[in-house]
Structures are given as structure tokens and as C-alpha cells.
Amino acid sequence: MSEPVQITVQTNETDSAVSGKTETATISDYVTVSPQDSRVEPFKPASPSWFVARINPVSRIIGALLLCIPMFFSLDLVSASSALAIEFVLLWIGGVAPWTVCRKTWPVWIAALGSFISVFLYARVSGEILWSAGWIVISEGSFPLALATAIRVAAIAVPGVILALGLDPTDLADGLVEILHFSPRFVYGGLAGLRMFTLLQDDWRALGLSQRSRGLGDGNAIMRALSQAFGLLVLSIRRATKLATAMEARGFGSDAPRSQARVSSLHAIDWVFYAICLSIPFAALALAIATGNWHFAFQGA
């Protein structure tokens, strides 16, 4: 860090020159700022993928929906695994290596494992019953059904998780208002709430410290966490009420037309992205239909 730069407030000097008084400058006459290039603002990439980082945040949400909704209609090994494979390859082309994908999406695989177990043990009966004990019924169709479900869970979740990485709420809010024409009151009001998230972390720490300094909360850790969480909720509502007053004082929420500080628009790359997002599930479904493996998800086993 270099030395802080002092900026003299110009008007005050001319004032004192005109009035002829010998005023010593008070504290408020100087605004101490650090030079722009010495500020350390950690650069946060909008996405691990160079391609995804270039598209509009709204497109990322829409694209993720386009990717996963068609997949809900099929439940078979071919469509699920081919969709997952295409997604992995495309993400690799887009700059996210498969091992990075696996590392970033590890909870997905736990969820997929859970789905596998639940369907394997409690699937709709198809074919001969191989083993049953109590509620558990394992039939011939259980294993393929469970495997298809698990891969389908991954195929639905993996692109959604990767596309959401690094998504900036402010950029998304701009897109929602300017591209999808959502009500700016709700979008920016919601954004204001989201932006208080970092503040809540500080509040949590401060609440903990103040409890400590009063000698409270040495007993049960769960009780302490609960009482602190309640305190945080009350504090955050108080903050929100104050914030709302401040926002209204600056004219937020009036019926007057709004202008936008930042421009959010769709470009050719967004349309390319939509095309890719639509083609992945449909290619997977087409492959499953062509090979005769397609299975409508909500039909009996």
C-alpha cells in the first residue's frame, strides 16, 4: 500500500480567501482516500468457464432450466448417461476440466448415491422379485432403474451447479429487470436483501463477541447458536426496516420511471448458448429413442 493521498476540498479555501479569515482547516476539509491502483479488490471470475463467463447471467439461469426440464420426462440409462457425457465434454471445451467438474460438484454425487440406494431398495416392482425383507423389495428391474435415476440426478444437477458458480446477483438483477422486465421494485428490493448477506456475517461475529463479553453462552452450544440466530434475525429485520426507509428516501419504489446504471443485454453468444442448452437434452432423448431405450419417467416400470 502506498501513502494515502490527501484531497483538499477546494471550495473551502476560496471561501476563506474571500472572507479573509485565517482559518485552520478542520478535519472535515480533508478527505483521505487511497490511490485507486493501490486498492486491493480480489478479482472474482464470473464463471470457471471462459464461455459461460461471457454470457448474460439471465441466460445462465434460463439455460440451466432448458438443460434440465426435458430430462425430467425420461428415465433411462441411455438418455441420462449420454446427456451427462455431452455435458462433461462441452464443459471441457468451455474450459472446465472433468476433474474440476467432479471436485466442484462433489455433493451432487452424494445426492446421486442417495437416489441410487433409495430406488434400488424401494423401486416399483418390475420382473421377478429377487429379494425382499420388510419394506425392501428388490426386483429384476431395480438395478437398472436405480442406476438410471442416479445418473439422471447427476445429469440434471451437474450443469446447474457449474452454471451457478460465480454468478453475480447484481448482474442477474440487472438482467431480470432489463431483459425479462421483472418488477424493479421486487428485483432490487430482493437484491438489497441479498447484499446485506455479508453484513449478516459480521453481525453474527459481533453478537457472539457481545454474548461472550457478558459472560453468556458458555453452556449448551446448540442453545447458544439458537439464541444467537434469533438475535441475528431480529437485528436483520431491524436493519432491513431502516434500509427500506433509506431507499424510499432516495425515491426507490415510486411510480416514476427508472433509468438503469448498467446495461444488460443479450448478444449472439447468448443465443448460441440457448441452442447448445436445448440441443443437449434433445440429443440425449433422441439417442435414447433411436436405440429403443427411451422410457417415459412417470409410467409404470
Binding site: I61, G160, L194, M196, A240
Partner: protein, 199 residues
């Protein structure tokens, strides 16, 4: 118990939006924490029991009912649950856009129905319970769609578990939580806070 005086005002003020948003943010953090805490127990429940993991759903259901009962505006449950789900999504979890955002919207719609059928005039423990239960039904609907291979028994147990969990955590707990918040006086700009003060 306080019965809300029914003079319905459907117009959202800025304070309604921001407070609903902050409730959603606080809830979203809890959703996300629950995602992590739950990953292993959920898998265990899925394996050992026929669908009792629905009982764990309650911690993902309460944002909508809580915001609705405090703010008392049409759409509050849907708005808060969606925003909470969005925060959960951006913090990163195992379900991506589908299992966080879509399910959040469905749960929010469920929670919303409970207040909508009474034309947003009844804000008592009954509608809160109904709201929590219907949010549970929403959650069940999504997970059934994710695991269509489940047999009838499992689908039923999951629905029952999800509703019970919604009733308890997104219903009873939310109601008493909202009363406790009102008792602190922080809701003095809301009807939910004033109704308490009048008693």
C-alpha cells in the same frame, strides 16, 4: 392467540419487499447449511427407511411461511422461498438449478396457496400450519419427479414425512418464531407486529 384483524391491504410497500428479502436471505443461509449437514443423514435415511427422509425437509420449507406471516402480502411466500432458494443456489449445493431453484418455486407456490385460499385475510396459526404442510407437498412433488422409480409405499411415506416436517418446522415453529419476533417490537411497521401490541 392473536387473530389478525382482516382489513386486507394487498399493496406492497418498500419495507415489505426488503424485510421479506432479508428473511429470505437468512433462511437461504440456513437452507444451505442444512444442505451440508443433511447430505449424509439424508443418504442414510434413504437407504435404511422407506422414505422417512421426508422428515428432514422442514428446514427447506420455512422461508415462505415465515415471510408471509410477517409481511402479510400476496406473493410473499413465493417471493421469499424463491429468493432463499436462489441464495442457496449461489452459495453452491448438491442440487443445482433444478433442486434448489425449481423446487424452491414449487414450495413457495404451495406455501402461497394456504394464504391465497383465504384471500390473504387469515393470518393465524391455522393458515401457517396449512402453509407449511403445502410447502411440504410441493417438496414431495419435486422429489417424486426426480425419482419416478419409487414404488407406491415409498412415495406415500415421503409425502407423509414431508407434510409432518412442514407442519412442525414450517408451521408450528414458524408461528411461534413470528410471535417471538413481534414481541421484540421490531415489527412495528407491520400489521403482524401491531396486532400483537393491541392485545
Amino acid at each position: 392467540m392473536t387473530e389478525a384483524v382482516a382489513k386486507a391491504n394487498y399493496k406492497w410497500r418498500v419495507v415489505d419487499i426488503v424485510v421479506a428479502a432479508i428473511i429470505a436471505v437468512a433462511s437461504g443461509v440456513i437452507f444451505w447449511g442444512w444442505d451440508i449437514v443433511c447430505a449424509v443423514p439424508l443418504t442414510l435415511f434413504e437407504g435404511v427407511t422407506p422414505g422417512f427422509e421426508g422428515l428432514l425437509n422442514g428446514f427447506w420449507l420455512f422461508a415462505g411461511p415465515l415471510a408471509a406471516i410477517i409481511v402479510r402480502k400476496p406473493g410473499a411466500a413465493l417471493f421469499a422461498e424463491t429468493l432463499a432458494a436462489f441464495l442457496e443456489l449461489t452459495l453452491g449445493n448438491q442440487w443445482g438449478v433444478g433442486g434448489s431453484l425449481i423446487v424452491g418455486i414449487i414450495q413457495g407456490l404451495g406455501a402461497e396457496i394456504a394464504f391465497a385460499v383465504f384471500a390473504y385475510k387469515k393470518w393465524n396459526i391455522g393458515t401457517t400450519l396449512l402453509s407449511g404442510a403445502l410447502a411440504g407437498v410441493g417438496c414431495w412433488a419435486y422429489y417424486w419427479a426426480t425419482n419416478p422409480g419409487w414404488n407406491g409405499l415409498r412415495v406415500t411415506w415421503y409425502l407423509v414425512g414431508s407434510i409432518i416436517s412442514g407442519l412442525v418446522i414450517a408451521g408450528i415453529v414458524v408461528w411461534f418464531l413470528s410471535r417471538a419476533i413481534a414481541a421484540t417490537g421490531v415489527l412495528d411497521r407491520f400489521e403482524s407486529g401491531r396486532a400483537q401490541a393491541r392485545v
